[in-house]
């Protein structure tokens, strides 16, 4: 067992974990944060996307021990004081989902994308979400949701300059 200390969605946590435990398992099984989901076995789908020290990563492809000392934000930590994050709001407004399974990862990656590029073109959105698969193939409304978020929330996106 290895001792890890990290911050998840603003709360400090410490645990003894097996070295082989994946970050996504740690979030779901140890912390009960089942908002982050697992969609594949090959690190292709992006459903498990979270932010590690402010950058999007696939949490099925990171060991929990590699997150020692880090700050992790999951889909469950995006809303503040009961207020949806602007990107969550945009996905709701534009119906950027069908079954919803890819949605947590899509939203986390969209937040990262808008932080690096607050006003992306449609092509830049599609390229920026390249690592996130939607098996319902609702990509069209997902792209619209990101455009909506960009139009309605400049400055309100996590990490963007105020």
């Amino acid at each position: 067992m290895t001792r890890i200390n990290l911050t998840v969605d603003g709360e400090k946590v410490a645990d003894d974990v097996e070295a082989r435990m994946l970050l996504v398992q740690y979030l779901r099984e140890k912390l009960g944060k089942t908002g982050t989901v697992i969609g594949c076995d090959t690190s292709n789908c992006g459903a498990c996307t979270v932010h590690l020290n402010g950058q999007s990563v696939k949490s099925c492809n990171v060991l929990a021990v590699q997150a020692d000392g880090a700050e992790v934000t999951t889909i469950e930590g995006l809303a503040t004081d009961g207020q949806l994050h602007p990107v969550q709001e945009a996905f709701r407004e534009c119906h950027g989902l069908q079954c919803g399974f890819c949605t947590p990862g899509m939203i986390m990656q969209s937040v990262d994308l808008l932080k690096e590029n607050p006003h992306p073109s449609e092509e830049e959105i599609r390229l920026g979400l390249e690592g996130n698969l939607c098996r319902c193939t609702g990509y069209h409304n997902i792209v619209k949701a990101v455009q909506y978020a960009a139009e309605h929330s400049s400055g309100a996106v996590e990490g963007a300059p105020a």
């Binding site: 082989r20 994946l22 398992q25 950058q55 990563v57 696939k58 492809n61 021990v65 990656q109 690592g131």
Partner: protein, 284 residues
């Protein structure tokens, strides 16, 4: 799936990492960004007893200007290398290749050294680094040695790095002001290239004075297209001249046949993609 159990250490210096590697020998595996290793461990295609994490070793991270070369630390993530102004200025081919490597999440975690040490023949960094004539700096129990790019890639997933050694940095000779382009052919999003061509060249009043071209996935290692380079030198950067030179792209190649295409198809792609890469790099 979940990997088989293993022990884990995260040393904070290169010296400690080398000691751990010597102690555990064959049973140990290094983890850098984990973006290739973790899928392998999860599929249980490999089951090391000890995993040595380089993630906490600061000295392996970062990019610096060293006179005639840009030096990239092995643990520098793709996203950092891809957006670094020094690299863009002196080795423009590298950010061009990183732009379409995997996806944003993987570019945040995966490292420059990890990708090269992994030596997947479809990896996007081998051909650019080979074309630019990079030197690999490798540390081991006996000290530090350097290996030229021509000798670094040995075979499929095999490099000049020995089991008790760690790649510490890659030195890229400056190619300031050279045009560059990476032409990657894929069928679906964030796929490994079926074939890709890395080209960088210097032009002088519309004439190509020197060109360097590398091929991805045209053999078990990245390949330097020396025939094309020779044929381009002194030629005008025109569609006709470049087309003729690109016909030599298949010289010395041994492309694989798989579900994405047979060897014949890949040979065809190599010519077409070389022409596109060279013309783009020449700004023509």
């Amino acid at each position: 799936m979940i990997p088989v159990q293993f022990d884990y250490v995260a040393p904070t210096t290169l010296g400690e990492a080398l000691t751990a590697l010597s102690q555990h020998g064959d049973d140990a595996k290094i983890i850098a960004g984990g973006q290739s290793l973790l899928p392998v461990l999860r599929m249980r295609l490999n089951a090391p007893e000890m995993v040595i994490d380089l993630g906490k070793i600061e000295e392996l991270r970062g990019i610096r200007d060293d006179g005639d070369a840009i030096v990239i630390g092995a643990m520098t993530p793709h996203a950092v290398v891809g957006s670094d102004p020094l690299v863009a200025e002196h080795a423009a081919l590298i950010p061009k290749a990183i732009e379409h490597l995997a996806d944003a999440q993987i570019r945040h975690r995966g490292t420059f050294g990890g990708a090269l040490a992994h030596a997947d023949p479809a990896g996007d960094l081998g051909a650019p680094v080979l074309a630019l004539g990079a030197t690999f700096v490798i540390a081991g129990p006996a000290g530090v040695r350097t290996v030229p790019a021509d000798e670094f890639f040995v075979d499929l997933f095999e490099t000049a790095i020995n089991d008790d050694e760690i790649l510490t940095e890659v030195r890229i000779p400056k190619h300031t002001g050279w045009g560059a382009h990476y032409e990657k052919f894929v069928r679906v999003a964030h796929q490994w290239p079926i074939v890709a061509v890395a080209a960088t060249l210097q032009t002088n009043g519309g004439t190509i004075s020197e060109a360097r071209v590398g091929l991805t996935n045209m053999g078990s290692t990245p390949i330097r297209a020396r025939g094309v380079e020779e044929a381009l030198a002194g030629q005008p950067a025109t569609a006709d001249a470049v087309r003729t030179a690109s016909e030599r792209a298949t010289e010395g190649t041994n492309p694989p046949s798989d579900l994405n295409g047979d060897a014949e198809y890949r040979r065809h792609l190599a010519g077409v993609l070389t022409r596109r890469a060279v013309l783009n790099a020449a700004g023509a």
